[in-house]
Subunit: 134 residues, 2 copies
């Protein structure tokens, strides 16, 4: 099943940052790696990729430099900045939260509902039973 990257809208930047966390890289390679890690389920389109790079760089989350000449076409390498790492950490936290919310809102438990507020004082579990027929 090829994921419609529409459901991933907004995560492209985070995906790139997380890739860069493991070391500098360039567009084409990042793309291959992403599709490899996702088993081909996610193929970032080039236009999406490169607009993301521009967005990230102009926001200071990554910086770029030319390199790799002599072994194929020229490459523009990207490097994650400190701000980028911070942004990545926030994004990862946001993803966990989003995942939790969507799990409860869309149902597919299987991971079990998470009903913990940050203050902890909030209500115990209200039984939301779920028989699919009616």
């Amino acid at each position: 099943m090829a994921l419609s990257a529409d459901l991933l809208r907004g995560y492209t930047d985070t995906i790139i940052l997380n890739r860069l966390r493991e070391g500098d890289s360039y567009g084409y390679e990042i793309n291959r790696k992403v599709s490899e890690l996702s088993r081909g389920a996610l193929e970032l389109k080039e236009a999406t990729l490169y607009t993301a790079f521009r967005r990230l760089e102009s926001s200071g989350y990554i910086i770029s430099y030319w390199g790799g000449e002599g072994s194929g076409a020229r490459r523009r390498y990207y490097s994650i900045t400190v701000e980028g790492r911070n942004r990545l950490a926030e994004d990862q936290a946001a993803w966990k939260e989003t995942r939790r919310i969507l799990d409860t809102l869309l149902n597919p438990e299987e991971r079990r509902p998470v009903l913990q507020g940050r203050s902890g004082q909030e209500i115990p579990v209200i039984h939301v039973e779920d028989q699919s027929d009616e």
Copy 2:
């Protein structure tokens, strides 16, 4: 943390369908329920809600009718159709897939590594007691 609903783009329709699965309802109520279930983390904006209703209805996933007069403002009730249920099932499957991919692409393993074989057999769910709060 209030979720930027930008990260939820594309899921609004599914959230609504899943709510309707439990019975007919109307905009205002659905909205309250969603924010209750998410503990206030997700507040669907009215513009978002009602455009979603129009989208869903014109696609045949829901149908609407007026009702509830006499007890406040008039309400437009929505009912999920058979097509809507099918669509919902697909969306839920897509969410599981998306979740899996994003978990591997964004890293936050923490619950279980996602390295299952292509063959589709699920990883045996490891029983993780979920009492820790972050």
